[in-house]
Amino acid sequence: MKDEAKILKIHCKALGIPSGSAEIFIKKSITAAEKSLKNRKIITKNDRVRAITKELKKYNKDLAYVYENYNKII
């Protein structure tokens, strides 16, 4: 969770999202994503990315897009 929050903070700064609000919705998104994955027996990295992206879309679409497609650019 710490790593994901750190990466998301870097994305937020690069996208020009104010750090105060970014911190709040990153925390909310990760918590909500973890809650939605709570009942699963096996959780892959992709599951986590999908769940966090789904939550991030509610707050900032650009951030959600960058986070989802980060590994698919090269």
Partner: protein
């Protein structure tokens, strides 16, 4: 030289690197590092081009090739690259529809991603630019060879200008991405634009390589 401008590994690595640098440092420092990356790609292009030029000059002086066989082989290479770029340069399929994943193996792409996000100083950045250009050596080497042959036909005073023009044209996409970032565009917008133009890149690259192959073949026959 225009074909090399359309190749996508260096712009992809550059976009991630610049985005990450902007997130970690101030805009001024990120811009400074971006210039180091561009310098790295320029150095790589210059080194590979000049080595190829030197080898070609040596072989021409020794009368080893530039005969029909050489032109046939080059023509075959270009046509093969034309077919490869259309079908395999970008990873296709449903899963990769909205992405710009390239022909590189997963480990190579992950390696680039790691270095783009973990570099610390200018030297790292220059080396990253060098590596990004080296990854496409298969596509650029035939272009260097044929350009060197073309340069030999020019007047010696234009050789230097041609080589400089080649290096500049090859790095135009990087300067374009840098300008886009500087004018307020973010990685999401740039990536969406790249995904939108993916088919155009494939067609342009493929047609250019095949056209170059056909032209080389015709010049060999004539």
């Amino acid at each position: 030289m225009l074909i090399q401008g359309f190749l996508q590994t260096a712009p992809g690595v550059f976009a991630i690197f610049y985005h990450h640098a902007l997130g970690k440092t101030t805009a001024k420092k990120a811009d400074d590092q971006a210039l180091s990356f561009i310098l790295g790609t320029e150095i790589a292009t210059a080194v590979y081009f000049l080595i190829t030029y030197f080898v070609i000059t040596f072989f021409v002086a020794e009368n080893h090739f530039l005969n029909d066989t050489f032109l046939w082989v080059m023509s075959g290479i270009f046509i093969a690259l034309g077919i490869f770029t259309f079908f395999y340069y970008f990873k296709l399929g449903k899963k990769n529809k909205g992405t710009t994943k390239l022909f590189l193996t997963r480990h190579t792409a992950e390696n680039f991603l790691y270095h783009a996000t973990h570099n610390k100083n200018r030297t790292d950045t220059i080396l990253l630019g060098f590596l990004a250009t080296t990854a496409e050596f298969v596509f650029t080497l035939p272009l260097f060879i044929i350009s060197s042959v073309e340069i030999l036909n020019l007047s010696p005073r234009f050789n230097f200008i041609f080589i400089i023009a080649y290096i500049v044209v090859a790095t135009i996409p990087l300067f374009t991405i840098r300008t886009l970032f500087r004018t307020g565009h973010n990685l999401a917008e740039i990536q969406k634009l790249r995904v939108k133009k993916k088919l155009l890149f494939r067609i342009v690259l493929s047609i250019s390589y095949i056209a170059l192959g056909v032209l080389t073949f015709i010049s060999g026959v004539i």
